[in-house]
């Protein structure tokens, strides 16, 4: 067991004029998830504490938060990973806080939807599967892993500066289709991203890549999209 201090951002629009922090001292296992600590607080200290969560093992993308200043999944971050007894949890930046750790995800999903994040191929479907080589499948493997947690986009200074920037998550999801050999709408997506609020807002700061809980090489993916726009080909 280990003694820690958990400092939580609090804001309830029905009762608070402005946000504040609550602090809890607790004994925890070093292998506890930050999410476990928050469940403990909610279960036994203060039932009004609000946050999103579902899978509890880093695959659903619900619980992205700022933990000691960096975006992480609360269910994929263990106390021992943080290397300190003081843990501060706050909502992601750049999106409106609705209550405690819950932010308004709508703008995030609107950006996602704007890049045609779906498979397009209007040729008649073959009787069986479309063939794809192992290499062609590998080409976009990394960006298929995205769980739309928002950690990347809300850690990006370009997004903080201007929320009209589509943001890294949307570009990752465009990348997933642009480089899929079976898809036929790469040119349209590249045109969408070749906009003043598209890929060129990316200043290769790498915050997104550091934040991504799925270890997606986001900056690299954005670079590939930039290159495709510049050269007009996908190699």
């Amino acid at each position: 067991m280990k003694k820690i201090t958990l400092k939580l951002f609090r804001y309830n629009p029905e009762t608070d004029k402005k946000p504040h922090y609550d602090t809890f001292k607790m004994e925890v296992e070093p292998t506890d998830r930050v999410l476990d600590l928050m469940e403990k607080v909610k279960g036994y200290e203060d039932g009004t504490l609000s946050f999103r969560r579902s899978c509890a093992h880093g695959v659903c993308g619900s619980c992205s938060m700022r933990i000691n200043g960096e975006n992480m999944l609360a269910c994929k971050t263990l106390v021992q990973d943080l290397g300190t007894n003081k843990i501060t949890v706050e909502p992601m930046l750049g999106l409106t806080v609705l209550k405690d750790m819950i932010v308004d995800m709508k703008p995030f999903f609107i950006h996602y939807e704007s890049v045609m994040p779906f498979f397009v191929n209007d040729e008649p479907d073959p009787a069986q599967e479309r063939l794809q080589s192992i290499e062609d499948r590998e080409r976009f493997d990394d960006t298929t892993k995205c769980i739309m947690c928002g950690a990347c986009t809300t850690s990006c200074p370009s997004f903080w500066a201007n929320e009209e920037y589509v943001g890294p998550a949307a570009i990752v999801n465009a990348h997933r289709f642009i480089f899929d050999s079976r898809d036929k709408a790469a040119a349209e997506r590249l045109q969408i991203l070749n906009d003043q609020f598209g890929v060129y807002r990316c200043r290769t700061i790498f915050n997104c890549t550091v934040a991504c809980p799925r270890d997606i090489q986001i900056t690299k993916a954005i670079g590939e999209v930039k290159k495709a726009i510049a050269t007009g080909n996908l190699d």
Binding site: F119, E129, D215
Partner: protein, 598 residues
């Protein structure tokens, strides 16, 4: 209160709900309401694969898939529905591929497949490569693909809306009542067809692979409206959950050659009485029971309640040689670290994150974990809800995915058959619901359509006792895991039932901190706990009554299957202070019950 009107309303946006919505929305106005953002649904957690006899790597047939599923179900599955699902499987997997699903590929560019428990070549009895996969995130790719197609097809979503009640009149279904979580406002969705696709209820048990959201809402809502739940005593415990945490380690690990090892370093699955033929790739109920018996005999690792799952190349290759396992092209089966890494990246990530170990060099500590509800809301093979032993249809109501019971899984589900169930029956219930909507009018809403939902919330909000919902929840989980788990006895289950009933009384005396409207997760968590308690009660009563062992329902006091008395489905109705039971026939076509050996 706000009111909406749609011909079809789908509750739930996992694989089943999205597939239903994609098909219903082709011809009917359709809305999907979901308590989670669709991409947060638990379908995204599925790892190993979706079953279909494509035969991409070796000979396979839908008939073999059908037989394996019937056998896996311990003959409780309805054979007409199973046949239908397995016949549809190849075309629906191709359809997913045509929607863009990025399956892993074979050398010749086809969808790749791997072996999974209980799936066999019916001629040789050896494991067959039938699970179509996308690395170890097949469910994630299915969920993403279906959501992407929903955006493309402009399906209407009400995200973070929680259904609390279904409106049932004498003539049929008239809609759904839901809470908008962000505001606390009640919405009434007037509908001709309602499709429930709310997933499972594994949060009844302490060690579970299931998400926090798996609270059985659909089953509880319909139980409260007088609709029975079928075969609830059959709940699957997956053999390999991470010790203490329950996080799932896919059966795909064993498909790739991983072996189970006890505290004496033995590969115990080959023991006589377990599964000497297919060993680790027997059905889940068989493997979980073997593990339980090993641990009970003190053969856990260091005598503790876990065993090792070992997928290090040395172990895989050692046992593959002993088994004489070959690749489909006939060459001896050998793996390298790189291959394990590329096929199981997420499993490796979970182990590194939560256990600090690397499965390519170290074994994983595992124990059986609550995983999947074979039972649920009774339906026919079009997802239409049926409400008695004669299969009387309740017009306009559908259930699909894990919360439905067709029944294709019977007493024990085979791995990869749930994802298949979602898309096959999702599609057909969507089509059927739209067809019904086309041919019928809206049934008028009753006077106060939201009354029952509001009453439930008010009772929670105003409850002013001294009980913590966390205490009640933890006590439920513990007693259910200990006594209504992998092995069961009359005594243990009676004890559990007494406890659950005590907890239901104590639940009336809870106190909630949050009295607000905006994102009041406190009240919703309490409501979800009331669902779990109802389901725990129905499960335990159904299990106590079934005096035999079949599939996932294994009793120490009745160790044998008893086809004479118990070859029948349980139907359970929730009453004020009791559960009423009745039974209905199992459908047989080709396969006569035999003793199950693996």
């Amino acid at each position: 209160m706000k009111q909406h009107q749609f011909e079809v309303v789908v509750v739930g946006a996992g694989g089943a709900g999205l597939m239903a919505a994609l098909y219903a929305s082709k011809t009917a106005s359709t809305a999907v309401i979901s308590k989670l953002y669709p991409t947060r649904s638990h379908t995204g957690a599925a790892q190993g694969g979706i079953g279909a006899a494509l035969g991409n790597l070796e000979e396979d047939h839908p008939e073999w898939h059908t037989y394996d599923t019937v056998k896996g179900s311990d003959y409780l599955g309805d054979q007409d529905a199973i046949e239908f699902m397995c016949e549809e499987a190849p075309s629906i997997v191709y359809e997913l591929e045509h929607m863009g699903l990025p399956f892993s590929r074979t050398e010749d560019g086809k969808i790749n497949q791997r072996p999974f428990g209980g799936h066999t070549n019916n001629d040789t009895g050896r494991p067959v490569t039938r699970a179509c996969y996308a690395a170890d995130r097949t469910g994630h790719m299915i969920l993403q693909t279906l959501y992407q197609q929903s955006i493309k097809n402009k399906v209407t979503f009400y995200d973070e809306f929680q259904a609390l009640d279904v409106i049932v009149t004498d003539d049929g279904v008239a809609g759904v009542v839901a809470l908008e979580i962000a505001t606390g406002e009640i919405h009434v969705f007037h509908a001709k067809s309602v499709i429930f696709a709310t997933g499972g209820w594994g949060r009844v048990w302490e060690i579970t692979s299931n998400a926090y959201a798996y609270t059985g809402d659909g089953v509880a809502i319909t139980l409260r409206r007088g609709i029975p739940a079928q075969d609830m005593e059959f709940f699957q415990f997956h053999p390999t959950g991470i010790y203490k945490m329950g996080i799932l380690i896919t059966e795909g690990v064993r498909g790739e050659g991983g072996v189970l090892i006890n505290g004496k370093g033995e590969r115990f699955m080959e023991k006589e009485g377990y599964a000497p033929n297919v060993k680790e790739l027997a059905s889940r109920d068989v493997v979980s029971r073997a593990m339980y018996l090993e641990m009970k005999a003190g053969l856990g690792i260091e005598g503790k309640r876990y065993l090792y799952l070992d997928v290090t190349p040395e172990m895989v290759n050692k046992y593959a040689t002993l088994d004489g396992r070959t690749r489909p092209d006939g060459t001896p089966y050998r793996v390298t670290s790189e291959e394990i890494l590329s096929k199981l990246p997420d499993i490796i990530d979970f182990c590194e994150t939560y256990l600090g170990i690397n499965p390519v060099t170290q074994p994983m500590p595992v124990q059986p974990t609550a995983h999947y509800g074979m039972g649920g809301i009774p339906t026919d093979k079009f997802g239409q809800v049926v409400v008695d032993k004669k299969n009387k249809i309740l017009p306009g109501l559908y259930a699909v995915g894990e919360n439905g019971c067709v029944s294709v899984h019977g007493a024990n589900r085979l791995g990869t058959n749930s994802l298949l169930d979602l898309v096959v029956f999702g599609k057909h219930s969507g089509l059927k619901a739209a067809e019904y909507a086309r041919n019928s009018g809206y049934i008028p809403l009753p006077e106060n359509p939201a009354a029952f939902a509001e009453e439930q919330l008010e009772a929670l909000r105003n409850s002013d006792g001294d009980e913590h919902i966390s205490d009640i929840g933890n006590e439920m989980k513990e007693v259910m895991f200990d006594h209504v788990g992998v092995f069961r006895t009359e005594e243990g289950m009676s004890k559990a039932l007494g406890k659950i009933r005590e907890l239901k009384v104590r639940f009336k005396n809870i106190k909630l901190d949050d009295k607000g409207s905006v994102f009041n997760m406190d009240i919703l968590n309490a409501w979800e706990l009331s669902n779990l308690l109802d389901i725990a009660e129905v499960t335990t009563v159904s299990a106590l009554k079934r005096k035999e062992s079949r599939g996932a329902h294994a009793r120490d006091d009745y160790p044998e299957r008893n086809d004479k008395k118990w070859m029948k489905h349980t139907l359970a109705w929730l009453k004020e202070d009791d559960v009423k039971l009745d039974y209905k026939d199992v459908v047989f076509t080709k396969f006569k019950p035999k003793k199950r050996v693996y």
